[in-house]
């Protein structure tokens, strides 16, 4: 009996394809016996085109329906089955068949009565020589795999006819089977609908074949049906959702709860994997698919349908699944194809051949000259440096939202810098304070290395990176930060070139964006004052790279999360500007004049030249002239950069420098840190590092632009900048800097020894202030370490009741007074009083203080120590130090630590370098896809 064929053509917004498809349908050598044209709620003029083609046979679905549901609706309202041997030919608006397609498929099904489904070879709409899809299968885990995709058709697949499944477009299916199986699963709106249907047909005892001689076009995968484009993330979500739906449907009843329980954990795990694979856009989809599947109401009905029709075991389709070996082979083939299409690497100077190693070596030697004498030190103190906590555990107890033993103690957010210090200290876990010594020893070569790497990214010749590396390692703000003890500024300086490098590369790479986010967070934590300038620069870079905008805009996220608790407290205190305060020990330093900022001197004294010239017997008045002459090559080369080739890079470098300079000027006018009786402005060194970065960057670009002529200016600039660094290096090597080697003790040895037995033992520090008056603070245990410092306390101007209590105690101890000092010392658990040696203290006040303490009967004078004059309160009675919960002791603390930890972990996962993968590209309608790929 001659088979009867009912063609069902479903169109949704397919006006651009319909004319060709309808013409192809009409041109069939074996024409379908009847045709139903379904308009699945098109918004374009698909309906009109269909109506014009076959006015009587157009069915319009009520509302948007997926392909399978549209077919079902058409069959429901259309003609009922008239003969037993009736076939349905399912076509989408983009499925234009070859003239012989239907006859070829009918030929194939007629010779094999067990075949219920036949699929044509789907060819690309825009390039009929390429196979879009020919057969689908699943892996042993149930993931669907297209057997062929994007291959040039050379008849290489024409041998395989028995398939697990075929695509929906162009599928020829026996109408009785369609009816028995209930059509496509409503739980699978697009992806895997045909696959699932074919699997069910197979389990019901039917065969599925592919007919290579029947060729039908296809403009894209099923999820694209009726849409212009689907983002990569959405595509992944739909595919994952379909896979999970099928998993729940196919699983044996006993395994369903297990699958259900693992849905969300697996989703989270897969999200992390997607991050590592540099596909952060997939994360949302993974989670959405997992949660969607967990509440998928269509599963029970689908399971019933499957059970009702299944006559064979799952083993029946086992042979048709793709094996692990075949899968590996396919993947390696894909990788090879991707690698072949990769752009050729640019010509860049090599690290060894291009002089990078030499510059690092030179910087290392200069570093040893300047700071080599610290190598045997256990710790460094002086300036803004104090030792770190003695153990790694203590280091990490000062992060997040925790109790701070500063003053009378308070519960509050730590500086993000405490994470940096904790990480640094963990590097030398056996003696955390030694990590700072190590930082000093490697600071110069490390900064030369990062600067060289960064400059090499923009260079083809060796001169520019070499000079940039030297200029960066010997930058005046850097040497000043090392000499005056600004650990945050040192770390920020070392990392700034890395930040530039990663941010520039982040425009094209997720991995770089991840590294950039982590580096940005460290830089921001170490030098918060740079954040406004860096954010402005990032926004500028994002605007210049609209394609990479998602990657660039995300870079400050970890930093924002790290700063969020501190920002909340500072904002609610009404002092948002205090967020910019330099973390670490608050210092009272002489502020430089603005013209000294121009020559990148973060402290008064013109990069150390005023003192140096006086020391070698030259008039100090010559210092400005010397410094200007020595900086002239750098300045001139930097200013030339917009005029030379490469101006497009020179201008951003200049803008970066200008941002740094403006920040440095702003630093001088922002007095947020309180040290005793004075408010100090922010140390402008970090901002000057940014300024210097701009100058050195512009210089490097100028040198690059000069090409062969660069040698002489490069040499002159390098020699002049090296000479500029002589005074600070000489000062460091002769020990004439604030930072000194130390035994790691913060308090006099006697107090440290006593505190070792009782870590909550307090030492009251009272210091006479420059304008009269005294400042008071409390050290617990061995002293207030670098990781314990908090800007929240350093920028606090309010006097709390606890502060007041301490002030009353100190004020009375500094006087002849009838105050019951002993009771208060007992209550606060204070056993020592120390009056530090301060150069700028008011002498009369200091004398009064010493006299009063000396005359206090309950205090035993211990005498002068390196830290200060010490008294011991021997009669310490019962009492306990005020104490509070650690980072994990409060709900807020746990939330803060978990959120911050999670965000940083995600950034790190994103940063992990993975093998080169094909760039993830949005699925688009094929003709546009090619354009995008270019």
């Amino acid at each position: 009996m001659q088979p009867r064929v009912l063609a069902v053509l479903v169109a949704r917004n397919g006006a651009q394809y319909l004319p060709r498809t309808l013409a192809a349908l009409a041109a069939q050598t074996r024409r379908p016996d009847s045709v139903v044209l379904v308009d699945a709620s098109s918004s374009d003029d698909s309906g009109a085109i269909l109506g014009a083609a076959a006015p009587g046979n157009v069915v319009t679905t009520p509302g948007r329906r997926p392909f399978g549901a549209a077919v079902a609706y058409a069959l429901q309202v259309g003609p009922p089955q008239s003969v037993d041997n009736e076939w349905l030919w399912l076509l989408g608006h983009d499925n234009a068949p070859d003239p012989s397609a239907l006859s070829a498929m009918l030929g194939a099904v007629e010779v094999a009565p067990s075949v219920a489904i036949a699929g044509p070879k789907l060819m690309r709409w825009d390039d009929p020589a390429l196979i879009a899809s020919f057969g689908e299968t699943i892996t042993s885990f149930g993931r669907s795999v297209d057997l062929v995709s994007g291959e040039l058709d050379q008849a290489q697949h024409d041998l395989h006819s028995d398939l697990l499944a075929v695509a929906a477009g162009g599928m020829l299916v026996r109408r009785s089977v369609w009816a028995a199986l209930g059509g496509f699963d409503p739980g699978l709106p697009s992806v895997d609908a045909a696959l699932d249907f074919a699997i069910r047909a197979r389990l019901a005892g039917h065969r599925v074949v592919g007919v290579p001689s029947a060729r039908v076009t296809s403009a894209g995968p099923p999820e694209l049906f009726g849409r212009r484009s689907v983002s990569a993330g959405a595509q992944n979500r739909v595919r994952r959702a379909a896979q999970l739906h099928r998993r729940l449907v196919y699983a044996p009843p006993i395994a369903v709860p297990l699958h259900w329980l693992t849905l969300v954990p697996l989703g989270i795990l897969r999200s992390l994997v997607q991050l590592v694979a540099k596909r952060p856009g997939f994360v949302g989809g993974e989670l959405a698919a997992a949660i969607g599947a967990a509440f998928d109401g269509s599963v029970p009905r689908a399971r019933r349908t499957l059970r009702r029709n299944r006559v064979m075991g799952w083993a029946a389709i086992g042979a048709l699944r793709i094996t692990a070996g075949e899968l590996r082979e396919r993947r390696s083939g894909e990788r090879a194809a991707a690698a072949a299409s990769g752009a050729a690497a640019r010509d860049r100077p090599g690290f060894f051949a291009g002089g990078g190693a030499w510059m690092v070596l030179v910087a290392a030697i200069l570093g040893i000259v300047g700071f080599g004498h610290f190598q045997s030190a256990a710790a460094l103190t002086g300036g803004g440096l104090v030792p770190l906590s003695a153990t790694v555990g203590e280091l990490w107890s000062h992060v997040g939202y925790t109790w701070h033993d500063v003053g009378t103690g308070f519960l509050g957010a730590s500086d993000p810098f405490s994470y940096v210090v904790a990480l640094l200290g963990t590097l030398t876990f056996w003696s955390p304070s030694f990590s700072v010594v190590l930082l000093y020893l490697v600071a110069l070569p490390l900064s030369a290395l990062t600067a060289w790497w960064c400059a090499a990214r923009f260079s083809q010749r060796a001169w520019a990176p070499a000079v940039a590396a030297l200029a960066w390692a010997l930058a005046p703000p850097f040497l000043a930060a090392l000499g005056d003890g600004h650990p945050g500024a040192v770390i920020a300086h070392i990392l700034l070139p890395t930040l530039v490098l990663t941010v520039v590369n982040a425009a094209r790479s997720w991995s770089m964006a991840g590294i950039g986010a982590v580096v940005f967070a460290v830089v921001a934590a170490s030098a918060p004052v740079l954040v406004p300038a860096l954010v402005i620069a990032l926004l500028g870079w994002a605007a210049a790279n609209p394609r990479g905008i998602a990657r660039i805009i995300g870079i400050p996220i970890p930093a924002a999360v790290l700063f969020a608790p501190l920002a909340f407290e500072q904002f609610s205190r009404g002092t948002p500007l205090a967020l910019l305060a330099e973390p670490g020990l608050a210092l009272r330093a002489a502020t430089p004049a603005v013209h000294e900022l121009v020559v990148a001197s973060p402290a008064a004294g013109l990069d150390g030249w005023t003192v140096f010239l006086a020391a070698i017997g030259l008039p100090a008045a010559a210092a400005p002239v010397v410094v200007i002459v020595l900086l002239a090559p750098l300045g001139i080369l930097a200013l030339l950069s917009p005029l030379l080739p490469g101006a497009l890079r020179g201008i951003p470098a200049m803008v970066l420098g200008l941002l740094g300079f403006v920040t440095a000027v702003a630093c001088l006018h922002l007095q947020v840190t309180i040290t005793g009786s004075t408010a100090s402005s922010i140390w402008p060194g970090s901002a000057l590092s940014l300024y210097w970065l701009g100058l050195v960057g512009a210089m490097a670009i100028s040198l690059e632009g000069m090409r062969k002529a660069a040698a002489i200016p490069a040499l002159v600039a390098a020699v002049f900048l090296a000479v500029l660094a002589i005074p600070p290096l000489v000062a460091s090597s002769t020990g004439a800097i604030a930072v000194q080697a130390s035994n790691g003790r913060l308090l006099p040895a006697f107090a440290s020894a006593k505190a070792a037995a009782d870590p909550s033992l307090g030492t009251l520090e009272i210091s006479a202030q420059p304008g009269g008056g005294i400042a008071v603070t409390v050290h617990r245990g061995a002293g207030t370490t670098l990781d314990e410092q908090t800007t929240l306390a350093a920028t606090d101007v309010a006097v709390s009741p606890e502060d007041e209590r301490l002030a009353v105690l100190a004020g009375n101890m500094a006087s002849r007074s009838g105050f019951d000092v002993a009771a208060e010392l007992d209550a606060l658990h204070l056993a020592f009083v120390v009056v530090p040696h301060t150069a700028d203290a008011d002498e009369l006040t200091r004398q009064r203080l010493l006299d009063a303490l000396d005359g206090n009967r309950i205090l035993t004078p211990i005498g002068d120590t390196t830290t200060g004059t010490l008294w011991h309160y021997e009669g310490l009675g019962d009492g306990s130090a005020p104490t509070g919960p650690g980072p994990l002791g409060t709900t807020t603390g746990i939330v803060v630590i978990s959120v911050q930890g999670l965000v940083v972990l995600l950034a790190l996962l994103l940063a992990v370098p993975t093998t080169r993968r094909r760039r993830v590209r949005s699925a688009r309608v094929t003709d546009e896809a090619e354009e995008v790929a270019e």
């Binding site: 005029l643 009786s677 408010a679 101007v797 301490l806 002849r816 009064r848 005359g855 004078p861």
Partner: protein, 515 residues
């Protein structure tokens, strides 16, 4: 390495790029200048020039603006908290009796013994005063009434208003070589003080008395200066003064023959009250006794009020013989500025008689050496001596009183500035006068109220001095001024003594604390 392998040198990138045979190797943007001049090339070059000049201009304008435009400073100011110390028992230390080396038989020249008992008067504004002798003394006077007396008042019940307490002592000695009147106020112990007075020349005995009223032992270090500069001597450092005890040291024991010593006393641990006691014997004639009180700090503006010259003619008569022993009967001002170099000092000597502006002269003294400036021919009368100097210094005035052959002398120390209110006790003795010097440019009306008695208002013209006779042994409160120097003198018939009025103790002043 390529050499050792016998391979040709690899061409570097530079050579490649420079080779005109491979122009395509050039980067498009860098290649532009090498190509023939085209309209596009010119446009690119001029656009770059314009952009570059604009960029340089922006940079220059920003830097110039930052340097030239004054920007406001924003930020927070530290909130200091003024802590008023809880009032405590105030302590004043009186000098104790006049001392001598050797006992009354003239033996035991290394031991110190007391001569008589001073008369001590003390009073507090809230009425409660206790007087106790120190427990131990080098003069073996511990716990006796000859020992230095510690005058103390219990803490005032009102925390903001601490009680004013003052005390003074006087002793008329007439025993062997020691004849004269010695009077001193009782002062608070101090960690750092200066003593200008005394002499260790022949016939002059100068003893240093260190009294520690506190409950902890004090470690005292001395710095000695003479007319020839600093004096280094063993035993000047680490002198332990026991709690509630007195140490007495002879200055001559450090170095004899110093005509003009100045002593700087610093103590750690407990605080001490330091005093010098000088006795003069000229040949066989006693020349007088006096106690020199300490000055707490050096100043560039030093005022010595109440320098009393009782009888110029009698003093001049003593010098007629030309005996160098009598050189130091002349009125002199002892000046010492620590340090090096030369210090210009302007000395003005103004009679208390308001109509007379007195004389003033300027001279250069050597810092680091003690200078005695003789003020010859100072007529009988009361004077206020003011020293204005470039560098901080300590000064005192020595005055001799004579009636016939009987002489006595007194050291008038510089007075501390009184700023609000003060209390003074008139030591028991003859002809007790209160001298007031007004350093301000406005007239001061000082209310002097006897404790439990009538009050008198003394008008002190701007820059001039006032005088008031006090009842011996009575305590007075001084008020109604913003700045004032005051001293008390006792003088009669060849006996003279004096002391300055000290402000209430600074140890209890409020202090600003920055928590």
């Amino acid at each position: 390495m390529s050499d050792t392998l016998g391979m040709p040198d690899e061409p570097t990138g530079d050579e490649f790029r420079a080779d005109p045979a491979f122009p395509e190797q050039d980067e498009p943007d860098t290649a532009a200048p090498r190509r023939a001049v085209t309209a596009k090339g010119v446009a690119v070059a001029s656009a770059r020039t314009v952009a570059g000049l604009v960029g340089i201009g922006v940079a220059a304008v920003t830097i110039a603006a930052a340097v030239l435009i004054p920007l406001p400073t924003i930020g927070s100011t530290p909130q200091g908290m003024t802590v008023v110390p809880v009032p405590t028992a105030q302590q004043l230390v009186c000098a104790g009796s006049v001392l001598r080396l050797a006992d009354d038989t003239g033996e035991g020249a290394t031991t110190v013994s007391a001569l008589g008992t001073p008369q001590v008067r003390a009073a507090s504004s809230d009425g409660q005063v206790s007087m106790n002798p120190v427990e131990t003394s080098d003069a073996s006077t511990g716990t006796t009434s000859s020992a230095p007396t510690i005058v103390s008042t219990p803490p005032s019940p009102d925390a903001t208003q601490s009680a004013l307490v003052s005390a003074a002592q006087s002793e008329l000695v007439e025993e062997g070589d020691f004849v004269g009147l010695a009077a001193a106020d009782c002062d608070s112990a101090n960690g750092d003080s200066w003593l200008a007075g005394g002499s260790t020349a022949v016939g002059r005995t100068t003893l240093l008395s260190l009294t520690n009223p506190s409950e902890v032992a004090a470690t005292v270090n001395l710095e000695l200066f003479g007319e020839d500069g600093a004096i280094t001597a063993p035993g000047t450092s680490g002198i332990i003064v026991p709690a509630n005890g007195q140490r007495v040291l002879s200055l001559a024991g450090f170095q004899p023959g110093i005509a003009s010593p100045v002593v700087h006393v610093t103590s750690t641990g407990g605080q001490v009250s330091a005093r010098l006691q000088e006795a003069i014997v000229r040949g066989l004639e006693p020349g007088g006794v006096d106690i020199v009180s300490s000055v707490p700090e050096l100043s560039t503006s030093t005022v010595i009020p109440g320098v009393v010259v009782t009888d110029l003619d009698a003093v001049q008569a003593l010098r007629k013989g030309g005996d160098p022993q009598f050189d130091d009967v002349e009125t002199a001002i002892r000046v010492f500025a620590p340090g090096e170099g030369s210090v210009s000092v302007t000395v003005s000597v103004r009679p208390e008689d308001a109509a007379d502006t007195g004389t003033s002269f300027t001279l250069d003294i050597d810092a680091g050496r003690v200078t005695d400036i003789p003020v010859q021919q100072l007529a009988t009368g009361n004077y206020t001596v003011t020293l204005e100097s470039e560098a901080p210094l300590v000064a005192s005035a020595r005055v001799t009183s004579a009636v016939g052959a009987r002489t006595d002398f007194a050291w008038f120390s510089s007075a501390s500035l009184l700023t609000e209110s003060a209390q003074v006790t008139a030591a028991p003795g003859p002809n007790t006068l209160l001298h007031l010097a007004n350093p301000t440019t406005t007239e001061a009306r000082v209310v002097v109220a006897a404790r439990g008695g009538a009050s008198t208002t003394v008008t002190v013209p701007a820059g001039a001095s006032g005088l008031l006779e006090l009842d011996s042994g009575t305590t007075y409160s001084l008020s109604g001024f913003t700045a004032l120097y005051a001293s008390v003198s006792l003088a009669e018939d060849g006996m003279i003594a004096g002391y300055d009025v000290t402000p209430p103790g600074v140890g209890s002043a409020p202090i600003v604390v920055f928590p």
